[in-house]
Amino acid sequence: MEFAQYITYGVINGSLYALVAIGLALIMGIMGIFNIAQGSLAMIAGYGSVLFFQHLKIDPFVSLVFTLPAMFLIGVFMYLTMFMSMNKYDSGQKLRNSMLVSFGLVLIMETLATILWTANERTVTVAYSGAVLAVGDLRIPYTGLATIVLAIGVIFGLHFFLKHTTFGKSIWAVSQDHDCAMLMGVNVRRTTLAAFGIGVAISAFAGAVVSLHTVSPAIGIDWTNKALILIVLAGVGSINGILFAGLLLGIVEALGVYLVGVHYTGVVGLLIFIIVLMFRPQGLFVRKAGV
C-alpha cells in the first residue's frame, strides 16, 4: 500500500506542475513568446496568497478573486512594455528575444521578492493543512485533492474557452494565422494582449497552491524548470497534453523516490526529459510534428 501512497503524491505534485506549466504553454503556443518568468510569476502570486492570509486571514483559494485579476494586470503590463514590440520579428528571433527578456525578469523578480519579503521561506497554514481523506489505507491530503481538482478544472476550462467561445476562438485563430485573423476582422492587438494576460493570470492558481507548500524568492526558476520539462513532454502547442505530462512527471518522480530515494527526484525528471528529447522531440501528446 505504501507504493500507492507514493503514486498519490506523484499525482498531486504532477497536478501542481501542470498548473505552473499551463500558462507557459498557452503563451508559447499562441504567441510564440517564451516566457521563462512563468515560475517566478507563480512565486509572486504565491506571496500574494501568503500576504492575504497573514494580514487578512483570507484562505489562498478565496484570495484568488484578488490575485487572479492582479496577475492579469501584471501580464498586460509585461506584454505592453516588453513583449508587444517583438511582434515585428520572425518567430525564431521572437522566441530568442522573449527568452532573454523573461530571463532578466526572473532575476528582477527574485531580487525584488528578496528585498520586499526577505529570503525566508513562508507557508500558509490553513485549518485543513494537515487534514487527510482516508480511502482504505490511502491518505489523500485535502490540499492535494484541491490541487488535482484545480489543475483539471483550469486545463479543461481553458480548452473549453479556446474551442467553444467566440473570443477564445479568435485567440486560437490568431495563433494559427495572425494576418488572416486580421482579415476576418479580429482585433489582433487586443486579442494577443488578453491572451498574454490570461496566461499570466493562470499563475495565480499555481501561486495559491504553492503558498500551501513553500514560498521563497528562489522557487521561481525551479518551477519554470518543471514547466519546461512538461512543455517538452507534452509538445509545444499542446494544452491538454500538459495535464498528462504533469501527471507523468509527478508519477515518475514518485517512483524514483520509492525505488531510489528522495535525493534523486530531480535526476529522474531530467532523465525522462532527455529520453523524450532523444526519441520523440515533437512531444508525447502531439500527433504529428508541428509546422
Binding site: 476562438k169 486560437w172 476576418m184 476582422g185 479580429v186
Partner: protein, 238 residues
Amino acid sequence: MLEITGIDVFHGDLQAVWDVSLSIEGKGITTLIGSNGSGKSTVLSTIAGLLKPVKGSITFDGVRIDTMPAHKIVETGIAMVPEGRRLFREMTVLDNLEMGAITKRARQKKNETMAWVLDVFPILKERARQRADTLSGGEQQMLAIGRSLMSQPRLLLVDELSLGLAPVVVQKISHILDEINKTRGIGIFLVEQNVVMALELADTGHIIENGCIVGSGKASELLASDQVRQAYLGMDGE
C-alpha cells in the same frame, strides 16, 4: 465604389507598387492581371489593410480606408480571400465559417449568412465537422470564399483563385463567383495569373507590370487585344 488614387507601396525597402490608380465599380467583376511578382497581390493586400501605402489614398464609398487597421476595413464591407486560402487549419469547416462572421455587424446575421453560404457550397455542409486541412484543394478554396462571404461584404477581393487547382475546379468556382455577383450584387475584384479565366469572368480588366498599371479596358476587348495576346497568351498579334 472603391477608389485607389496614386498609391506607392513598399515591401520593406523594396517598392512593389508605383503610383497606381484604379477605380472599381460597385456591382461588377473587375480583374487585375499580371505575371508573378508584378505587384498585383500587393495592391490587394493594401486594399485589405495588411500593407499601408506610403503615398496616395484608398477610399471605399467615399470613406478613407487606407489609414484604418485591417480589422476595421472588414467592417466597412470589404472581405478578402487570401492567396493560398490561409484557412484556420486546426479548426472545423463550421468554425472557419464562424470566424468569418466575427465582426459585430456580421455576427448579428450569422445564422442567415451561414445558411446561404452552405447553400452556395453544399459540399461544405457535408464536411461541416471536418478539420479544414482535411479538405481537398477545391473544397478549401470554397471554404475560403465562404468564410469571407460570412462577413457580408459588398466587395469581395479574391487573390489568385486558380492557384494550385485543376482547371475543371477553377471553372466551377468561377461560375459560382459569377452567380454570387449577379444574384447578390456583391462586387468582385479578382487578382489572377490565369489571364484567360480572369478576363472571361470579369467585366473590366486592368493590367499591371512591374508595379505600374499599363492597360485598362473592357475585359472582352483586353482578351482580344494584341497586348494581352502577346504578353500573356504567347500568341502573335494575328
